[in-house]
Amino acid sequence: MPPPHRPTAALVGNPNTGKTTLFNALSGLRQRVGNYPGVTVETKKGQMTCGGRVFDVIDLPGTYSLAPRSPDEMVAVDVVLGCQKEEVRPDVVVSIVDASNLDRNLYLTTQALELGLPVVVALNMVDVAESQGIHIDAGRLSRQLGVPVVPIQANKGKGLDVLRAAIACAALDRTPAKGPSFPEAFEREVGALRETVGADTPNFLVRRLLLDVGGYTEKRLVDRLGPGGAETLKAARGRMAAAGCPTPGVEARTRYSWIREATAGCVQRPAKRFVTWTDRIDKVLTHKLWGTLVFLALMFVVFQSIFTWAKPLMDGIDYGKDVLADWLRDLMPAGPLTSLLLDGVLKGVGSVLVFLPQILILFGFIAILEDCGYMARAAFLMDKLMSRCGLSGKSFIPMLSSVACAVPGIMAARVIENRRDRLATILTAPLMSCSARLPVYVLLIGAFMSPPRFSWWVSGLTMFLMYSIGLVVAPIVALTLKRTLLRGETPAFVMEMPLYKIPSVRTVLRRMYDSGMAFVVRAGTLILASMVLVWALLYFPRAEGPNGQLYDVHLAHLEDELKDLQKQKEAAGDGAPSELTDAIEAKEKEANAVQGEWQRQSLLGRAGLAIEPAVRPLGWDWKIGVAALASFPAREVVVGTLGVIYNEGKVKSDDVMEAENVGETRLARAMQDAKWEGTDRPVFTTPTALSLMVFFALCCQCASTLAVIRRETLSWGWPAFTFVYMTVLAYIGALAVYQIGRLFL
């Protein structure tokens, strides 16, 4: 038996009208996100109670118009028309409008009136309008529009009870609203088209088919017109133009003149426009010099917060994970299960949670910037620069964030409405030099590009060049994508510069919570799975070492002995005999050797050996190959893997970062001393070190990034594409650097 039908209200409105604030206020804390196949936009669904009756509320993406030009924009239309498979058709449309900008906002309302559903207008921000001397007679407006108009202040929770009652009433009443009447010539063509397209197509779509030249409705429905469908449409539009109502002008003209008539007598405006706070603030914030300075200062704070301030929290999570792992290791017997739990699952969970501080902080900032109205200014200031790079003004924050970490950066690309711009940003953000690359650079520069090998300035220059690689390559890739895979008409940039307002704490917290959940629940599971996979590749086959013991058992045994020795040393205090210190060192060496041996014979180690011919031209031996392969979960893992492989134990990337002289660390020494097997030729020459760094600058050895791309694009194709193109670039880059470097250095 199907569940009883629960009435549903859909929320539509322009961007920056307080739609999300209203949705949060109506539906409370219980919300869920709706995704649809093939598109990247989401809808949110919550519930509200009115008079003991429970309603579903759907929050549709903010839009200026219901004239869809892309699959993403089509979602809102499909949902309200009941054409979206996963959703039932709403019973009532709530059109939220900004009272301080009534006419422009009512444009979308007039489209909503034609959906064949009851409509309720929520007149938001009446207080802001009043402060500008704009008074609206809601009762009269309601009579003129023919639908209920409820004045509200969503941010203060005012008028919501009346709004709920009006929604409930409209849902029961079920009388469809009626929109403006269009010229006769247009209606005649709609009637004719309707017969060809078929009666099962909603009237709204037939009208869109005629009005939206090159729109998405045309793409979807033109086949229904039979052979020569495009000509049929063209002829119909031609007849309309001949009758004096050409597309696209006819729609805007009809709607705006209807709106003007409807609002006449309902709205009192001051004789002279008030100079608003927004005007005054904007004098500074969009000023050539001051605006740029404020923008740069703000971006610096955002960047600092995710690069530096998030660090203690991330370290805390890391520390907690280590403490838990140590505690469990003592508790559990050595074996595959323990190893899976500690090195696979626990490490995986830790590496998911470790991203949370950055994501929450960044989305807190983004929510504040969007809610207060600054985001539109940021896009305004940066559009020229970013559009030259094949991106858009709103790509700036995602790209900047990616310099700290691509994961929050890619998630931040949600602020970009246009699908192609958003994809171009998502696909190139991982090229920005993120903080996980830093330990790799520090280790290799410290070991091979510093005094005494080179003058003091070479290390700084190398670091600078490594950071520049991303800044140069990302725009090239973005421009190339825009001309190939993501080709299409340039999206209209035109947007409203909204009024500044105080951001709502609730909206900001909600946004942070949602982004955190989206990451942990959907990207987190994937990251965890990839961690477990890499663990298995390093653990199996569970072979016996030279002494006939299984590697992990042997290693656990050695570590226990090591612990005993350390305890003895501690107990002895300052008077510990030097033999004890030597014994500890010897034991450490033994353990490291076993671990190295174990890793070398693992599935991944064997794969590294197998791919040696492929990495040889990059100047790498198979050990570097293994390290590069094993760093798939995250780039900085390469430091740890190099440590294990060079029998120096599990070197943590922080040890490298905090070392006073990196070139003097044991790992660096081991790498400097490494020789090609069976020769005295050192493995790490300058070209090899550079080739390895360039590889890591360009590659996408970061499972978390790929998982987030999968989550944000809802496709496996894009993460696969990103991985392949970046790996190919990295290989070519490393190859070029090594082969050219070999000639000169």
């Binding site: 805007a252 969009t286 539109a376 559009d383 035109v494």
Partner: protein, 77 residues
């Protein structure tokens, strides 16, 4: 006589829209945003790198790129 396009006005300059060129999605969007024949627009200013620009239309302000504004012809006021 050719009328100037919106992007040719100076900051603070005002004009009345006389026509909008083309019939593609961009023009549709411009019209949806309220840029229609007969409307009065005022140029608020240009972004630091000279593009995009900001205009005022009645109660609200829009930001649009110069290539978009070039479609909008105005009679200076």
């Amino acid at each position: 006589m050719a009328t100037p396009s919106l992007d040719q006005l100076r900051p603070g300059g005002r004009g009345r829209i006389t026509r909008i060129d083309g019939e593609d999605g961009l023009v549709q969007r411009l019209m949806e945003m309220g840029l229609l024949e007969g409307e009065e627009v005022e140029v608020v200013g240009f972004a630091p790198m000279g593009d995009p620009m900001e205009v005022r239309l009645g109660d609200y302000r829009l930001s649009l790129r110069r290539v978009e504004a070039a479609r909008v012809h105005v009679e200076p006021l």
